[in-house]
Symmetry: C2
Subunit: 135 residues, 2 copies
Amino acid sequence: MAARARVNPQTLRYYERRGLLPRPERSAAGYRAYGPQAVQIVRFIKRAQGRGFALDDIESLLQLAQGGPASCDTTRAVSEEKIADLDVRIADLQAMRAALARLVATCEQPRDHRECPIQAQVTSDPEDGDPEDRP
Amino acid sequence: MAARARVNPQTLRYYERRGLLPRPERSAAGYRAYGPQAVQIVRFIKRAQGRGFALDDIESLLQLAQGGPASCDTTRAVSEEKIADLDVRIADLQAMRAALARLVATCEQPRDHRECPIQAQVTSDPEDGDPEDRP
DNA sequence: CAGCTCGCTCGACCGAGGTACAGGGTCCAT
DNA sequence: ATGGACCCTGTACCTCGGTCGAGCGAGCTG
């Protein structure tokens, strides 16, 4: 299972301890018997992590996924918050992408006429307060 | 300066040591005199970090930005790699967003009819090898 | 000039997220 | 029935990205 999810077996136990992975049934001998969902959850965790989410964030996403714990209204509200966050992230990555694309486009120009991705990023910095900013 | 960039002063020195931040001029007394670029670079670092990039990745992005170290062809090639990576990331986030949007849409339904964001994510898992997967 | 704040260096420490290792049980193939 | 490849628990340790503190100098302010 660890192999199928492409993580270290220890990591699975760690996630279980953290409450990210539902504690699976055990065989008579105490072996964990993971359902087919488990691999997918782990893959999701790994992908989300690589996209800049902390395990705590991911836990709350997973809770949402399993039919939110609280009322429908709460679920809706939380989801909408997450969606807004995603929109910010997507916009940021798109800005980076655009900046790099411009760099490639101006690549033939002498080095000084090349546009700098950071400038591009920064010029569009909304001076806002990204919650991910000061953890 | 640390305040303007909204980071701990120590963090600036840490970035400097890591080579992320160009080592600034020093005053007679040894004080660092940062140019105006510095704040923007730090902000870029922080944003990229929150989007799931490691400091090493960010360093290479910054090097690209400062008119790549090597030939134009190399710069172009590296940039195109990064752009492809960004496209994957953007697609992932968009898939998550879509899944959450569906969750909200089906929110009124009984809990079991609600669609699960993970399933959605996973169903579209390309079984590929995301380089960010096993660091 | 005393006192305060701020910057400097250098080394120790911290929290998140794992990973390794010791000591032991299980399974199953030869 | 025995060897090797797994699994279990528990505790210790590691990396990354910072952060804190000690000890000292710089620079303003009353």
